[in-house]
Symmetry: C2
Subunit: 429 residues, 2 copies
């Protein structure tokens, strides 16, 4: 890789470059779709080795990115996401090993049946094709997304944040080395070789059928732009305004531990709870739940009923019910039973992850049926919204749409299928 | 239904009307998503009864449409598609009964597993939401599509051809009567109550999130427009340029019966074969296959080798390899074995349905693996590309894309899923 850091001159040149990348990725996708599991796993093993062996080069490239970003005066949260450490590179390599170990989804027969005329019909998993991944400052996404696409037989075009360009390039070198060692086409994992931001818009156009799906990884503004502009399908969630509803039938100790975990385990993840709904009939539970959150350092913004239980509660505004804080802040209100909780979630939720704490099984089933979210939980924390926690081994993100992938998007969700029919000369009457 | 036939004045009014329809359809979709199978089946039974009982009214409305179309000087093929007969109305009612009898997909647990921490995770089928169906002259699509969406728990907005407006309205009256009798919201099956063609563009815009997916039913120009303009997912196939490849290992008698059926059983269906590929090593088979087609009244457009076997063969032009004739015409050429056949299909196919006739199982498996089409068949006719023939009971169409639905789109393919998690107080470490 000797591509210079400067932007390629002019949009016409960039468009030609991107189209060419997509054509090569499409050709690589055809090869990858037919690659046996062992060959893909050989590539994954080589990528893991290369990542560990090239850690010094990755760290050096990252140090340049970090120095440039620091000079530009970026925020400390951004700097934290951008910065790689030996431990983070180890984690990246461990992630590659995990993906190698998960089951290969391609070629799996998910259903098969015999027709009265003797034909057998099989539904077989095949890759989607070429996946475009657009991410921001975290350079490790290049490895995470790259290897998950490889495992699922898809070619991928990676477009990292401009600020992490050198780091991504160093990681990408390891990915390409692994592909090469396994005899797979290098274009199977392509990194957009320019920092020119116009490349993002070109990817969102679909590059004339060159990209089949876009996966954005980053903040809300990136996802919103992708959802608004993409002319191809998008696997994404804009936000996770997730709710925990504590029913009158809830066990208070269980409710406390679930609410605390859902909100405070990690406040910055998309599965974190942002709103607490407490059944009016659970009046005695309200105060201990609110005080527990306040004592744990969580700001509570409540309706009138919640404000009454503790002077530290701040009044909630209308916007609070629609806000994803990603911070130690929670909106809290009292609702009139499970129906009112469902109605609140319908009006304010983001179809991501919602949980009910209840001992009454019928109430719980009603909540699980009627709440229209990718993940609905009964007596468990919303923080389980994660491909690893679901047993998928790895995920490329979480989707809240209803098309194709929904919830944690793992290797299986990155596949399509075909119908394979075996006959003995059947013709249609 | 007392909406006048004239177009609603002005696009602003039409946009308001369509947005209002979509809002009501969305509300109906929420009710329908939770309706028990028995209630939906009661509606289907009532729709069947109403369709049979109202046959005279449907025929009268259709006669008006036909008279108007005839006066406008439309083609006889169009007239045939537009015209309803007592037998066609019976067929429509039988179709409703078939859909009532298929398994209800909603609520089905397609996978479930237990995590090491004791949580159980279930993947449960849920409806997609609001489906927009845009169709042309065949008024029976209103019934076929309406009841399949109902069965799969989706609300539907139907937009029929302007020429079949009165017929669709009469059929829609039966659908609404069935919904009403079963206590389901009438907006669950909505007919766009205007002939104004601007309505199509508004549907393609997605009506501000009011429509989740568009299914076009009609000719290539309609599908092309929908695929180009839709801002929501589309389940469709643009065309079926389907191939039959006759391998050197094929049984000649079987090849003859499959080729004849694939091309000539019905030439106007999307599963009809359009191109015959014959292995160069099957030299003795070429002449009998070509003569059989010619003798059956099929025009054959061949490459040099095919032209040599019979004087009636016309020369194929470059465009022939990419043409969906939907008529008694076939393009035919000789290829160098299965690899060349696969390469030809890659260059010229439409990812719809392709078949290999071969006794060599390894050759067949290679073809089935490498041909990137929704349906690939071994020793069976391409005319089996049909939801009914697959055992789905009914289909809303056939999709060639790789997202969500692929191949025949039946009730199951009109669903999404959610993850339902049951815990006993689990929190994430």
């Amino acid at each position: 890789m000797t591509v210079p850091l400067k932007a390629i001159d002019g949009n016409a040149d960039l468009e030609a470059l991107m189209t060419d990348l997509a054509v090569k990725a499409r050709a690589a996708a055809r090869v990858l779709a037919l690659a046996p599991p062992e060959q893909k796993n050989r590539a994954l093993a080589a990528i893991e080795r290369a990542t560990r062996a090239n850690a010094p080069a990755i760290l050096a490239a990252n140090a340049e990115d970090v120095a440039e970003a620091r000079a530009a005066g970026i925020t400390s949260a951004f700097l934290d996401r951008l910065t790689l450490t030996p431990a983070r590179i180890d984690g990246m390599a461990d992630g590659v090993a995990t993906v190698r170990e998960i089951a290969d989804p391609i070629g799996t027969v998910t259903e098969s049946w015999r027709r009265p005329n003797g034909m057998t019909i099989e539904r077989v998993r095949v890759p989607l094709g070429v996946i475009g991944v657009i991410f921001e400052s975290r350079p490790n996404v290049a490895a995470d997304a790259g290897v998950l696409c490889l495992k699922s037989g898809n070619a991928v075009i990676l477009r990292g944040g401009s600020d992490s360009f050198r780091s991504c390039r160093a990681i990408h070198d390891c990915l390409v080395q692994g592909l090469r060692e396994a005899g797979l086409p290098e274009a199977a994992i392509t990194l957009v070789p320019t920092r020119d931001r116009t490349a993002v818009g070109l990817m969102l156009s679909g590059l004339n059928g060159g990209i089949d799906v876009i996966v954005p990884r980053g903040g809300k503004s990136l996802v919103a732009r992708v959802e608004a502009e993409a002319r191809v399908p998008v696997f994404a969630h804009l936000e996770g305004v997730n709710h925990v509803y504590v029913d009158a039938s809830a066990d208070l100790d269980m409710a406390k531990s679930i609410v605390l975990n859902a909100k405070m385990r990690r406040t910055g993840v998309c599965g974190a709870a942002e709103t607490l709904l407490v059944d009016r009939a659970a009046a005695t539970s309200l105060k201990p739940l609110v005080e527990m959150l306040l004592d744990a350092g969580c700001e509570v913004r409540g309706d009138d009923a919640v404000q009454k239980v503790d002077a530290r509660v701040k009044p909630a505004s209308d916007e609070d019910w629609d806000t994803e804080y990603l911070d130690a802040v929670i909106a809290a209100r009292v609702v009139d039973g499970v129906d009112d909780a469902i109605a609140h979630i319908h009006d304010h939720g983001s179809h991501h992850t919602d949980s009910i704490v209840a001992e009454n099984a019928r109430t719980a089933e009603k909540f699980l049926s009627e709440v229209d979210s990718a993940i609905v939980l009964h007596n468990a924390s919303t923080q389980f919204a994660d491909g690893g926690e679901f047993g998928f081994g790895a995920e490329i993100g979480i989707a809240t749409g209803k098309f194709h992938a929904r919830g944690p998007v793992g290797a299986e969700q990155l596949t399509s299928f075909k119908y394979r029919v075996h006959g003995t000369g059947q013709t249609r009457p």
